[in-house]
Symmetry: C3
Subunit: 194 residues, 3 copies
């Protein structure tokens, strides 16, 4: 075993990559896959069917439900709320139990490489967060987020753009250069590295 | 004992119904009552005085404080925030300790049968959530919610109506028929099954 | 040892004052300091570098990161979201790792004496919450909060003023008297006790 599991954590999968660390009071179910060199904070829960790439940082208190996929290099801040049911009801409620006979109620979530999600943000069911986007803390995301976009608020609105490194981008004449040296063009609401 | 308690959970009450399951790292205090066939996710805390009906689904990371009552068939999404103090202060603060000599600071919460509360929603003190209502993920609920209403936003506003089964209802001429077969009338902002 | 630690809690610091209680499934790292007579609810995490005063009440499910300071008598409701990075990225992401070579990414949070933060509120990086202020449940705080101010919403806006005891203040002619007997003046958006 070339990954670390804190003695208080419950880890039922063995599909975990090299160098990954899983901290106190986590509960990772069977049928979860996690890549290399991830850091998974205290009190994080992952349900069967979750897939996490490599170099992912998951802060404490996260709950990843069936249908959630995090690509490489994603950051999940503390206590982010993922969801997977557009029309929630207790499956034990007689008036609703017929809706939970199969998995047609499930809407997946995809967070693409390098994106970051701020503390306590809520991701509604069926959302894709684009590559290197940033979701502000406390945002309630109700529609897909463009690559390199920054969104915030409830419901979340786009507030600007960010570099792959995470710093804000300011465009003048359709061009921007980050402190880190990367250059971008902006055309038709699409940012591209140049 | 005809209910299940995960070995890592701390359960101090015995007032728990048949078939109920209490999962990892939960802490259920003495003086809590829980009905039959409930499912209570990891990391859930219930304080003395909480009452939970039957067929209730409580997802992970919930905290139910004194004064919270959940009727039969309720769904509580992950990490919902219940509250019970309109004017919070540390009871240990000398300037405020006189306000915590008795329980006059406590405002209760009632979630009526079949209602569903989305992930990370906040329920302000003193609120009643009507039968079969749905609270959107991330909503901040500042006033009572009508039966079968859907609310969302911060502060939460009514966005529409839902069937007892959880699916959205569209009214034409004061009438609506759900895919599940139930029929409703809408009059004076009140939905009734017909 | 004149403080209490629940047997399931992990406490790596000894810098804890007399009469403080630390409840189930907490994780308090080395390098944290906590004053006297505090109450720290279940599932609370504190990272190295956190400083907590005396008479502080921290409800369940809180996560206090490096850079967070709570002065005496503060109330932290359930599941408050503190933050410390304005431009979050996974430090393991190759495109961003250079930004995490030193601590220049860190923006601290200061909550001054007697303030109260409602359930599920989000405190953006770099914020100071003034003495005896109240943050409403579910608020997303994006700028500093004045002493004795009440803020709510996303983003949080000022809604009024509160007494040191936590009750709302109504000003007439620049003066207000609380039920608790304290008197205040309001001038230039500043409340002072008189």
């Amino acid at each position: 075993m070339d990954y670390f599991v804190h003695p208080t954590a419950i880890v039922d999968t063995q599909d975990i990559g090299k160098g990954t660390k899983i901290w106190a009071f986590c509960h990772i179910m069977d049928g979860v896959s996690i890549g290399d060199s991830c850091n998974i904070g205290d009190n994080t829960f992952m349900e069967s069917g979750v897939a996490v790439g490599s170099n992912v940082t998951i802060k404490n208190g996260n709950m990843l439900w069936e249908g959630v996929t995090l690509e490489d290099g994603v950051f999940v801040g503390p206590g982010v709320f993922f969801t997977n049911d557009r029309h929630p009801r207790s499956p034990r409620l007689p008036e609703a139990s017929h809706r939970y006979q199969d998995h047609s109620w499930l809407s997946p979530t995809l967070v693409k490489q390098g994106a970051a999600i701020g503390a306590g943000a809520v991701i509604l069911p069926g959302i894709t967060v684009g590559e290197f986007a940033t979701i502000g803390a406390g945002a309630v995301v109700t529609k897909d987020v463009r690559p390199c976009a920054v969104v915030a608020g409830n419901p979340a609105r786009q507030k600007g753009w960010v570099c792959r490194c995470g710093l804000p981008l300011t465009f003048a004449g359709g061009c921007s250069r980050c402190h880190c040296g990367r250059k971008y063009s902006l055309q038709n609401e699409t940012v591209q590295i140049v």
